[in-house]
Amino acid sequence: MFYREAGIFKTSYAADQALFRIPLDRLFVIGVVVAAIVVVPLISNEYWLGSIMIPVLILSIAALGLNILTGYCGQVSLGTGAFMAAGAYMAYKIATNFTWMPIPLVIVLGGLCAASIGLAFGLPSLRIKGFYLAVTTLAAQFFLLWLFQKVPWFVNNSASGVPTAPPRSVFGELVTGAEATPEARYLFVLAFTVVLAVIAGNLVRGRIGRTWMAIRDMDIAAELIGIRPLHTKLSAFAISSFYCGVSGALWSFCYINTVESSAFDIFRSFMILFMVIVGGLGSVLGSFLGAFFIFLLPIALNNVVTTFGLPIATETISHIEFMAFGGLIVFFLIVEPHGLARLWQIAKEKLRLWPFPY
């Protein structure tokens, strides 16, 4: 009734190809973004901003990246953590060696370094597919993390091997490092998130996105209509790794405030894969929903236990978490392979008829 597609006529192809084809959708998304900028910092306390909103947004960026590679281009990667680490370490190198450089540029350059590394590890995708490729991305995961951990050059020979992120400002306001206020860090991360989400939305509805999906759906046919498989897959690897790299750099600079490889281990890679599956393969919105869901699930579990004073050891809770993650993945793959994003869409379709379903 209130949410309708009917009666909205478009008079130009431009309007018909817009990011949000239905005005209400557009309004809704703009509303969410405005609320995220204005309302969230006002109503949230330090815990919510610093320990939930910031990491969730950063992980959403990584999930977007993996969704481009896996959801749109059909190449499964288990090396997301490694590409995040590449972004974090390279951004650290750049920030400390070129101290004059504005921090947003540092983060982007970190992402570009990750992209070039992703490009290198995407090369095998020319000849191998599916889970074969997934195994080679494990090579990236284990090799890169080992490299960053063992070679002191990456951390400027710091004695502890775990340097702290350097403090940097934007418009005179500290946005990175432990001293920055959660509000400033949050807005900084949010800016990246919004821009990258819009870019992802644009890419997947344009030519590049269509070539990715063509390779995903039927690579042979794609090749025969003139899409170059290697170019296409490599572009997905590079762009995906760029997103992961930016995400990793933000993770180190704005969330944990240190540069350490343990933040990007294989467990991180799996978590981001889960975000993409649960959120929805091949959906920009799904990347966000998945990140929220997977990140909040353990917190919610913990809260349930403490609220009701259940006599469960913390260790046991983490085991239950594992079971819940595994169960959810299987559940979504069986019941709703398009994930939360699809559920959202179904809800909207229901809303279209509500409250008069006939």
């Binding site: 644009n202 269509r210 042979i220």
Partner: protein
């Protein structure tokens, strides 16, 4: 012959005159392991004609198309296309130079909408770089709109407006075949390769498809190479027929000539091999 007149008005197929050969295949040989799929086959495709390749199952027809658009590389022989004599086609070169095709088993991008499937046919004609696309603004947007307009023409031509936004995986078989033809047409092909475009269709669907094929041929001057098992359709719509059997060419000529050819009759009706 009565059927032929229903589909194509006079002058009848035999009197049409065709231009230069656009594609010449010479002494093509292709084998998989010990099996010879194509054995020393030569023929040419002339500009503007409808050429049918027929033959029993396993005669090497699909392999022939696969050689023409570069999916398989022949072990020997040559393909002359656009004034270049090549030992084998490259898929990208073929697609970029106007060779489009459809497949025996539908090879659509099942997760994408009809519109997006057709838009993939325009990929080679779109060249705005990545940065413009990331912004989806200015030249990139103009380019998208320009190609969308062309794709809409194809959609109108094939009468598939209603399924524009439907994911093709959900469409019935006949419509999927039509969308696949649409994707090939969106490439603005000079040569259109159709691999059994009417397989599994009922009479009405076959008539529709024949009509589209002929209209494409007449309106856009597109050269058409098709594989088809339905002899009625083949004899009606093609200007020339090449017959393959066991990977060898056994006949090449107008439908009437082929119909009268003893080798063809033997291949189809069977003959006592001694």
């Amino acid at each position: 012959m009565a059927e032929a007149e229903n589909v194509r008005a006079e002058p009848s197929a035999q009197t049409r005159v065709f231009g230069e050969p656009v594609l010449t295949l010479e002494n093509i040989e292709l084998g998989f392991g010990g099996v010879k799929a194509i054995d020393n086959v030569s023929f040419e495709v002339r500009k503007g004609e409808v050429l049918a390749i027929i033959g029993p199952n396993g005669a090497g027809k699909s392999s022939m198309l696969n050689c023409i658009n570069g999916f398989y590389k022949p072990q020997s022989g040559s393909i002359t296309f656009k004034g270049r004599k090549l030992p084998g086609m490259d898929p990208h070169f073929a697609a970029a130079n106007g060779v489009a095709r459809t497949f025996q088993n539908i090879a659509l991008f099942r997760g994408m909408s009809t519109l997006d499937n057709l838009m993939t046919g325009r990929v080679l004609k779109m060249n705005r770089n990545f940065l413009w696309q990331a912004l989806y603004w200015g030249p990139a947007q103009r380019e998208e709109i320009e190609h969308r307009a062309y794709v809409e023409k194809v959609i109108d031509f094939l009468e598939i407006q209603a399924i524009r936004r439907t994911p093709v995986g959900r469409l019935p078989y006949g419509l999927q075949k039509r969308v696949e033809l649409g994707r090939a047409l969106a490439m603005e092909p000079e040569i259109l390769l159709l691999d059994e475009p009417m397989a599994g269709m009922n009479v009405e669907e076959k008539q529709d498809m024949s009509r589209f094929v002929l209209e494409v041929n007449e309106e856009f001057g597109t050269t058409i190479v098709l594989i088809e098992h339905d002899m009625g359709v083949v004899m009606d719509i093609s200007d020339r027929v090449v017959v393959l059997d066991y990977g060898r060419k056994i006949a090449d000529g107008t439908p009437d000539e082929v119909r009268a050819n003893q080798h063809v009759i033997d291949a189809y009706l069977g003959v006592a091999h001694d």
